[in-house]
């Protein structure tokens, strides 16, 4: 009797325990995979933000810093998330090489999992087939918008830094070609310069050093009215530093964002009220740039694209799982993203074969658009 009552109580406790857990937690979980802060702060902070916003719903993982080398570890992170039956969607930002392989592996066993990819690095037609939704700034369109912006900032020449590995990415190569055409149309000289590959044996420091040296060289050769653009995230900070010093023109970063490169290059002091506050950061950058006499010569997007990719990705995944959105409906997706970004944008899909969405945002010019 005594034994039995204990069993009953134990069973009850167990049932209640399970029930309370299942009652307290949402019906599904979403996995997020981002890089670490040493790769780029925005995407990671975006993840921190949503984790705080939806407590208990998200599982956050990071991929290795040298993701190129440790591709298998990266894939294992994703399949590891998928091994948890509660996970119904996975948001990856950025979609570094290996993402497609990872999606395929997961979908073998868990075809129900929804994949949202921010900033895919692999070839769009391949990503498009596998990922449920991809979000990326519209790089081909930026092939026209950036030279136009440069012209608006007063540029007479346009210089594009990249290196072979990036030029083997079709979107980036296409964008380069479009830029060249657009420059011709606008009457600007287009200059292509190869920089050392940050993944090469000299590593990022060698690439950054090259930028620091080359910008003054180019300004000396071509004059101050030259706009610079580089395809590599790591190069943005030295590029901005060198441009500030040389007084040249900077239309936008590879991944447009007020927090990408600017705070570091300006040595912005992050006080309590500034930390994590985008509008305040934009203002502080603006003040600094104006103070340095560079008003009207530097610009960026008002939103941090990497941050946006993470946050919007999670939001879309959540809505889709709650069946509140049809991911194939571009307008609906656009609405969600715009709401989060707080600005309007132009959406475009790569093709009808999937949901590879590219978006374009109007720029803000420091010393002009920011009050």
């Amino acid at each position: 009797m005594f034994k039995r009552s204990i069993l009953v109580i134990a069973a009850l406790v167990l049932v209640l325990g399970v029930a309370s857990v299942s009652l307290g937690a949402p019906a599904f979980k979403i996995g997020i995979v981002t890089g670490t802060v040493s790769q780029g702060e925005d995407e990671y902070r975006g993840a921190e933000y949503v984790v705080a916003k939806y407590p208990g719903m998200l599982e956050h993982r990071t991929y290795p810093d040298n993701f190129m080398a440790e591709q298998e570890t990266y894939i294992a992170q994703i399949t590891g998330l998928a091994a948890d039956p509660a996970i119904k969607a996975i948001v990856v930002n950025q979609g570094v090489p290996g993402t497609v392989a990872a999606i395929r592996k997961v979908k073998q066993l868990r075809p129900d999992i929804l994949f949202v990819i921010g900033e895919p690095h692999e070839d769009p037609p391949i990503v498009e087939k596998e990922a449920d939704i991809s979000l990326i700034p519209n790089n081909p369109a930026r092939g026209q918008s950036i030279p136009q912006l440069a012209k608006k900032l007063g540029a007479k020449k346009f210089l594009h830094y990249s290196f072979p590995r990036h030029m083997s990415m079709n979107d980036l190569a296409t964008r380069r070609d479009l830029m060249e055409q657009e420059c011709k149309k606008l009457g600007m000289e287009f200059i292509f310069v190869t920089a050392p590959d940050p993944m090469g044996e000299g590593g990022l420091p060698a690439a950054q050093q090259f930028i620091l040296e080359d910008v003054p060289r180019q300004v000396a050769k071509h004059g101050k009215d030259i706009a610079f653009f580089s395809t590599n995230c790591g190069m943005q900070e030295p590029l901005i530093t060198a441009i500030l010093k040389a007084g040249a023109i900077f239309p936008e970063q590879c991944c447009p964002s007020p927090t990408h490169g600017y705070p570091g290059a300006l040595g912005l002091e992050i006080t309590e009220e500034l930390a994590g506050n985008f509008p305040a950061i934009v203002k502080a950058i603006n003040t600094d740039i104006v103070k340095r006499g560079m008003a009207g010569r530097m610009a960026t997007w008002p939103v941090a694209t990497s941050y946006l990719n993470t946050v919007a990705g999670v939001e879309i995944a959540k809505l889709a799982l709650e069946k509140k959105i049809n991911i194939k409906d571009m307008a609906a997706v656009q609405k969600v993203v715009e709401e989060i970004a707080g600005v309007s944008m132009k959406f475009e899909r790569n093709s009808e074969k999937g949901q590879f969405y590219r978006y374009l945002v109007g720029s803000i010019i420091f010393g002009k658009d920011v009050k």
């Binding site: 993982r61 080398a69 298998e72 992170q77 090489p97 497609v100 066993l109 083997s168």
Partner: protein, 381 residues
């Protein structure tokens, strides 16, 4: 005159002892790793099904590459970081096969065949260079990897479409020069891994009454092929050639005196290793299903070497068991450690840093343990 010998010469104690201390000495590094992995599994509270699935999958992908390291060690060349070059040969074959859209197992087989002459040629070149850098083979082969990478980029990014005529809008960049950075191998995907699944599904499942052996998915045919490779590697050691390699590996001078062509034997060892590495890379990539044209091969050497070291191999002695145990343990650690790190620290990126700190630190310590043992055993003699 000398007195007649009274005692007959005794035979030395036959065979090597199989005491616990011997096992500990020979397998200390794997045991060390095993302990760390188990600690990691406990810390990460990992789902065992997931772990088994993942580790077996990674074993299938990597074992072939790791086994390809054995022959050069046998021939005294140390750990061959030059398998990167072999991986490039495999990828070249893949590009060709994908271009001509040969799919499935036939495509895989064709790629395997095409990669052989390429890998042999490259292996010959690597071998010749290494023969001129005796005693510094490992560093040299590592740099050779970087060097070959430059050539590889030159060929596939610049020459293809200019000097080498090729037109393929799917594989090549919009400009018509050079390959795209990702190549989709959907046609070859799992072509080898699943080539024997009919056996599993049609035979094993029905006869056992459809009892599933856990929710796992094993690359059956690949495991089979790895088994064959193990047998083949053992076979090589039992041949005349294998004996020559072992002799060269143990003592180049004595081998030379015994009339063995040392340089040639070393080159053959490197060529074999390079061909195996090419096939290993094919297996790796057919399992992934996509490949990064300019980076898939880069770290093949680093990781395979780490795996075999973890298995208890040294730069002078490596067996198939070292390769197998090493691959399993190394990948267990790499599956377990990110989660363990995350669970321990609560913050995902700190976990990630902790993981690489631990993983590489453990390899350094493992190497240190080896060298230390090597010295103490020498002293005890």
């Amino acid at each position: 005159m000398l007195e007649k010998p009274t005692a007959q010469v005794k035979t030395p104690a036959g065979g090597s002892g199989v005491g616990i201390s011997d096992i500990l000495r020979n397998w200390s590094v794997p045991i060390f790793f095993l302990v760390i992995s188990i600690a990691g599994i406990i810390a990460a509270r990992l789902d065992i099904n997931y772990l088994v699935n993942e580790v077996v999958g990674r074993f299938g992908r990597n074992a072939f590459l790791v086994i390809s390291l054995i022959i050069p060690v046998m021939a005294g060349l140390g750990l061959n970081f030059g398998i990167v070059v072999g991986a490039m040969a495999g990828q070249t074959a893949l590009v060709i096969v994908t271009h001509y859209q040969v799919e499935g197992l036939a495509g895989f087989a064709l790629a395997a065949v095409i990669s052989v002459p390429i890998a042999m040629l490259l292996g010959l070149l690597v071998g010749k260079v290494l023969n001129r850098a005796k005693g510094r083979e490992m560093v040299t082969s590592m740099i050779m990897g970087y060097f070959a990478n430059g050539i590889y980029q030159l060929v596939f990014l610049v020459l293809l479409g200019t000097l080498i005529p090729m037109k393929d809008p799917v594989l090549m960049l919009g400009s018509g020069i050079g390959l795209r950075n990702t190549i989709d191998l959907i046609g070859l995907s799992y072509s080898l891994d699943r080539a024997m699944d009919w056996l599993w599904n049609g035979f094993v499942f029905t006869s056992v009454g459809a009892a599933r052996l856990g929710p796992w998915r094993f690359p059956l045919c690949t495991l089979f092929i790895i088994g064959i490779l193990c047998v083949l590697t053992t076979f090589i050691t039992r041949t005349k050639l294998g004996q020559e390699m072992r002799a060269v590996g143990q003592d180049m001078h004595i081998a030379q005196v015994a009339g063995i062509n040392v340089d040639r034997t070393r080159i053959i060892a490197i060529m074999m290793s390079t061909v195996l590495a090419a096939w290993g890379q094919l297996i790796f990539l057919q399992n992934l299903g996509t490949f990064n044209t300019y980076s898939s091969h880069e770290q093949v050497g680093m990781f395979s070497v780490a795996a075999i070291l973890v298995g208890g191999a040294t730069t002078r002695r490596a067996t198939i068991w070292n390769a197998i145990v090493g691959t399993l343990l190394f990948h267990t650690l790499f599956v377990v450690s990110p989660l363990a790190g995350q669970r321990l620290f609560g913050v995902s990126q700190v976990g990630e840093y902790f993981r690489s700190f631990l993983a590489y630190g453990v390899i350094a310590v493992a190497l240190a343990l080896h060298a230390w043992q090597g010295r103490s055993s020498k002293q005890s003699k």
